[in-house]
């Protein structure tokens, strides 16, 4: 028991240290400037982490499938823009560091109203109500000028001149550290919540709605409170967004962002507390990195997502933690060779798939944009047959080979699992 706890704490501490030091790894000592791209990406990761973690309060912890989570993020953002403007005008004596609390309260307020409505129903009806709410709010944000600013959104200047530490927040790096501080606070708070009666009963309600009733709890109340609190944290994320970009438009509360939250929480792993954070980091990385190289990153994310839904519903963290009993029994070495044998054809398959996707993409979209496909410095003619053939062979040949190896791997895995003791609960 203490072994896992200290390993976990160690991992989190290392992660925090890395997050704090990252901007300096990409520091250009000649110009004396941090890499703008890296700092921007890190800030995005921070905001998205809060979004994904708060979303998982619903998805992973309470079993609630919400489509309007971005609404609270966005409203937190919109409200913060107004707070910033008020603070800048001298009408709001709140230091910058504490503004996110106000953002959170805005998200909380709205989540109480919407949560009351949505949690009246269960399962699919709940999901549909949230879908309606999300669409409603997006249309409202586009249509109304007061508070939302219509299509153009609202903007503010974040140099409000109030700060607990006398900082100006002119530079992106300062903003990043503000974000990081709030990510730490929010993460700790959300983790703390999981260890409270409400947090536990949220899990219980997720696992067995009826049983919770027969323990004296009104499951609806549990869900309502969980929904409201998740809106609080989403609001904080939105506030940080507003501070960073100084402009908020309807994108900050629209369906694609809610979808993003779902993707990040699910792919990272909704069954473990830290999973969504991992998912947020990964997806942001993919988004920033892959989208530089390819137009089709959405296809890759979609395929990754579907693959996980089909074969790894507990996400990446789930996959990693599934190895725990094997690792504890010291049998990890037995998996080394099977993994190698599976990874190789897997890689070929992925290469083939990427090849086909990129070729197709360049055939239509790329051509219209006047770009040509360059791979390892070689220009590839998308109209020639050879690249298509190679990609197809890689995909299908690799695929067949992969299936054979995957079956063998599965056998080894089952055998190992049978040898070790039953797993401890993840929660």
């Amino acid at each position: 028991m203490s072994g896992t706890r200290s390993t976990q704490s160690a991992i989190w501490t290392v992660a925090l240290l890395v997050a704090m030091l990252m901007p300096w790894l990409f520091y250009n000592y000649h110009t004396g400037r941090h890499s703008g791209f890296v700092v921007s990406m890190l800030s995005q990761m921070g905001m998205m982490s809060i979004l994904a973690l708060s979303y998982n309060m619903l998805l992973g912890q309470a079993g609630l499938f919400s489509f309007c989570h971005a609404t609270f993020f966005g409203v937190g953002g919109y409200a913060t823009i107004h707070f910033l403007n008020m603070a800048g005008d001298g009408g709001l004596p709140v230091p910058m560091e504490l503004i996110p609390i106000l953002s959170g309260l805005s998200g909380l307020g709205l989540a109480i109203v919407f949560g009351y409505m949505a949690t009246k129903q269960r399962a699919t009806a709940f999901a549909m109500i949230t879908l309606g709410i999300g669409e409603l709010m997006t249309t409202a944000a586009l249509s109304f000028h007061h508070f939302f600013g219509g299509e153009g959104g609202v903007n503010a200047n974040r140099m409000i001149g109030h700060s607990l530490f006398g900082l100006k927040y002119a530079s992106a790096v300062q903003v990043y550290y503000l974000i990081l501080a709030w990510v730490v606070l929010a993460t700790l708070a959300m983790f703390f919540l999981t260890q409270t009666p409400l947090g536990r009963m949220a899990n219980a309600t997720r696992d067995n709605f009826e049983r919770a009733q027969f323990m004296g709890y009104d499951p609806r109340m549990v869900r309502f409170l969980q929904f409201a609190l998740s809106g609080f944290f989403a609001g904080i994320g939105g506030g940080l967004y507003a501070i960073t970009y100084e402009i908020v438009t309807f994108d900050a509360l629209a369906a694609p962002l809610s979808a993003n939250a779902l993707l990040m929480a699910y792919i990272g792993g909704s069954a473990v507390f830290g999973g969504p954070l991992l998912g947020a980091v990964l997806i942001t990385l993919l988004q920033s990195g892959v989208s530089l190289l390819s137009n089709s990153w959405l296809v890759y994310v979609g395929v990754l997502f579907i693959t996980m839904v089909m074969f790894a519903p507990n996400g990446i963290m789930g996959l990693v933690l599934a190895h725990r009993p094997v690792a504890r029994a010291g049998l990890m070495g037995q998996l080394a060779l099977p993994y190698l044998r599976v990874i190789l054809p897997g890689l070929l398959m992925v290469l083939g798939f990427v090849g086909l996707v990129e070729l197709t993409s360049f055939l239509t979209i790329g051509a219209a944009q006047g770009r040509t496909l360059v791979l390892f410095g070689n220009r590839i003619d998308v109209h020639a047959l050879l690249p298509w053939l190679i990609s197809a062979v890689l995909l299908f040949g690799g695929g067949f080979w992969f299936r054979v190896e995957a079956r063998a791997f599965h056998r080894v895995w089952e055998r190992l699992m049978a040898e070790v003791a039953p797993a401890r609960a993840l929660a």
Binding site: M201, N203, M215
Partner: protein, 251 residues
Amino acid sequence: MTDLALRLTDVSKAFGLTRIISGVNLDVAKGERHAIIGPNGAGKTTLFNLISGRFLVSSGEIRLNGERIDGLPPHKINRMGLSRSFQITSIYPKLSVFENLRCALLWSMGYYYSFWTPLWIQRGLNERTDKILEDLNLTARRHTAAGLLPYADQRALEIGMTIAGGASVILLDEPTAGMSNTETDNAMELIRRVSKGKTLLMVEHDMKVVFDLADVITVLVYGRVIASGPPHEVRANAAVQEAYLGALVAA
């Protein structure tokens, strides 16, 4: 009147046009061990569902310790002192055994919907949970995910979760279903222990369990009570024998 833990007056339940329960009258005294038996489809689980608030009665009254509970939502009925177990094991599969039991204690120990109390430092709560774990002989499985327990242990956990909250009236729906003889004996021992001083209402098919444990037996056939009384009376009742054995007895 208030000596009765549970009183059903003329309770009926129909789903659409199909009557499942017709005019059932049932009295369960405080501290009594009361078993409900009957052939399959007699409506025993439906009766439980009516008492525990899962279904609404079509007509009639149900009183718990003198107060009406029909029409109330299950969580309110539970707070008034009635708890039930389920025929199909109903636990929290992804939580550990310890967590399952701890959740059962939360409301009765006054934690309610608190989201500011850290559970890991609540000594009283955690100690009580460990005590119940011991009573159930599940201490070794403290950290196991409940969904991974062997069947008999899950049933034991189910019973544990039912009584943990300190309810005075306990409904057990086929607690020994699917158990082997040894497992049944262990379960009976457990039930005897945990129901001391409480009122027990039990649906059972295993006659050995019924006749060993019960003070009073009620026989339900096609949604009607055809006999109710101490075991030896019920055993000798001709209508009961016919219901169970059919024409064979008449022959």
